[in-house]
């Protein structure tokens, strides 16, 4: 196996959950540090410079997005994945717009989480079916000729197709096979959607997010 070892920091205020996460990760992932607060996480991540940070959406001293900003300016190579149990969509969207490369629910299986960490470390975006479904509907809402939006505010038909299949529970490989595209192309599409999600000014995103919970 030539899978590189990934160095990971877990930021979550529940110790028992951190322990559970750690126990389930495979030999290709090394947990180098843990933190339970924003205050502790920022200097820790800066000094350890890990590949990936698993970041709880809610922390006792602020949202997960408060960790991303200060780290990004100094360590732009560190990638973040948002992790949550059941959070208001607007909080999840806030973490992603702050720069997280993806979102998974805490009920994700250990093997899947390991896979997610590798994918994020490789620079890809990871959407849970929930996030895919949410983004799809949030971008579609209020579409019409009157909506004078830029390229960032609209999803291409191909991107919508990919998101729809993600929301239906397809893996990248299955999506690639179904659309007769390469996995790499699928990854590019998802990364583009993530970029739009982070940069779009669409009001619907916030409005939608305020009303919904991601499970």
């Amino acid at each position: 196996m030539n899978v590189p070892l990934r160095r990971v920091v877990i930021v979550d205020d529940h110790e028992i959950f951190r322990a559970g996460l750690k126990a389930g990760l495979g030999p290709t992932v090394q947990v180098v540090g843990e933190a339970g607060t924003v205050e502790a996480a920022v200097p820790l991540i800066k000094s350890l410079d890990p590949d990936v940070v698993l970041l709880d959406v809610h922390l006792p001293d602020g949202g997960g997005h408060a960790v991303i900003g200060p780290v990004h300016s100094e360590r732009p190579g560190v990638k973040f994945v948002a992790l949550s149990v059941s959070d208001a969509a607007e909080d999840v969207v806030a973490v992603i717009r702050a720069g997280a490369r993806g979102y998974v629910t805490k009920t994700i299986g250990p093997a899947e989480l390991t896979q997610t960490i590798h994918r994020i470390a490789d620079g890809d975006a990871v959407f849970s079916p929930w996030l895919a479904g949410f983004v799809l509907d949030a971008f579609n809402e209020g579409d019409g000729p009157a909506a004078g939006e830029g390229e960032l505010d609209r999803l291409t038909p191909r991107e919508q197709e990919v998101l729809l299949l993600l929301a239906r529970g397809y893996t990248y490989k299955e999506i690639a096979a179904r659309l007769h595209l390469s996995v790499k192309t699928i990854e590019t599409h998802v990364s583009n959607v993530l970029r739009k999600l982070q940069l779009s000014n669409r009001n619907e995103l916030t409005r939608w997010a305020a009303k919904r919970r991601m499970v």
């Binding site: 559970g20 059941s86 805490k106 079916p129 929930w130 509907d137 929301a167 239906r168 499970v215």
Partner: protein, 390 residues
């Protein structure tokens, strides 16, 4: 004088505790105060009026102080009242101070005051407990009687007009009526106060619930997530998932378990049912929601059938469901990675696919598409156009 110190006395009372309270506040022996009031009684009844007014205006004794019970002292009080009446009659008969035509209205007023007082006393007692809502009719009847008696007495007083005593009597009557009205209105104010504090308690309860939601989120949901990750047995996993969903629905939806009234809630119920029945895990994704109508209900019914098929025949532990609904269209995708099947080999009489899914969707103007092949899993697409319906 310190306003807080002037209140009716609890332990040192004969009737209402007015004299005891006054004595305490002024630093005089209450017996002297009582003597003062007694001497004022023959002076055109001023003593009685002043006493009634004081009783109405002075705040009740502090709740922690022991209250000397009226019970068991009935004779003493009856004797006191009798003595008062005899004194008044004697004085009136001998035409010393009070003529009879003053005494009769006075008596009316006194009875009215008594009624009003009883009402005030019971109302304030009930205002403290939760069971204070007594039959309103009785309350109203008593209030009306009290008012009639008070007004009757006052009118009799006023009708005398002319002589010197009448002017004084009118003044007394006015005071007595004012005291009576105070007694009548007071308890109602107190009750309004009780209502307000009830509302405050309700608000506190709501806040408490919000706090509890935050707490449960931090503890129970986290633990349930952990159980699911560890997953030693499928049973524990299923239990955890179900528990989590129920709790989530209660915490954030506030919905009744038996009465789903939105599309998402109805589908979640169907999903939970299938999960429990067939020992399967359903990944349910439903970013949008709409009020349930008969067409969406049919869609949920078809989705449940598709889920049941997947749970029974696919042979995998997991099924993915995506449900979307907008003004134009509602759709449900039910997908498994199981063994799949060959449609041509499904017996013609199998009702599930044909009747419960395809025909049901068609009846409501929708359609069902089934993508499957042996060993490649199955996906059922249910599409329901909603364009013509607002």
């Amino acid at each position: 004088m310190d306003g807080d110190r002037l209140r009716r006395s609890g332990p040192d009372r004969v009737l209402a505790g007015v004299c005891g309270g006054l004595g305490e506040a002024l630093g005089i022996d209450p017996v002297l105060v009582r003597l003062g009031f007694a001497l004022a009684v023959p002076l055109g009844g001023i003593g009685v009026a002043a006493y009634a007014m004081s009783a109405a205006l002075m705040p009740a004794p502090p709740p922690e102080s022991p209250i000397r019970p009226l019970r068991g002292r009935r004779r003493q009080i009856a004797g006191l009242v009798l003595l008062l009446a005899i004194a008044l009659v004697a004085l009136a008969a001998s035409n010393l101070l009070l003529p009879l035509d003053v005494l009769v209205p006075s008596a009316l007023l006194l009875v009215g005051l008594g009624l009003a007082w009883r009402q005030a006393a019971t109302a304030s007692a009930r205002g403290r407990g939760p069971g204070w809502a007594r039959p309103l009719l009785l309350d109203a009847l008593r209030a009306v009687t009290a008012i009639v008696l008070l007004c009757g007495g006052a009118v009799l007083f006023l009708r005398q007009g002319g002589d010197v005593t009448a002017a004084a009597a009118s003044a007394i009557a006015a005071v007595v009526v004012a005291a009576g009205i105070g007694l009548l209105v007071g308890p109602r104010l107190r009750r309004a106060q009780a209502l307000a504090s009830e509302e405050r308690r309700e608000r506190i309860r709501t806040e408490e619930r919000a706090r509890m939601a935050a707490r449960l989120h931090d503890s129970v949901l986290q633990t349930l997530a952990l159980i699911q990750r560890a997953g030693d047995t499928r049973g524990a996993q299923r239990l955890a998932r179900r528990q989590e969903r129920e709790l989530r629905a209660w915490l954030y939806g506030g919905e009744e378990p038996d009465a789903p009234d939105t599309f998402a809630a109805a589908l979640r119920h169907a999903t939970e049912d299938v999960e429990t029945r067939y020992d399967v895990e359903v990944e349910l994704v439903q970013p949008s929601d709409a009020p349930l109508d008969q067409h969406l209900e049919a869609l949920v019914g078809a989705a449940r059938e598709a889920l049941t098929n997947a749970a029974k025949h696919a042979g995998t532990g997991t099924v993915s469901v995506l449900a979307r609904v907008s003004g134009d269209e509602a759709s449900v995708f039910v997908r498994d990675r199981g063994r799949g099947f060959d449609r041509a080999r499904v017996p013609r009489d199998r009702a599930g696919l044909r009747e419960s899914i395809e025909a049901r969707m068609a009846r409501h103007g929708g359609r069902a598409e089934i993508h499957t092949a042996p060993e490649e899993g199955t996906e059922v697409e249910l599409i329901l156009p909603r364009g013509e319906r607002p």
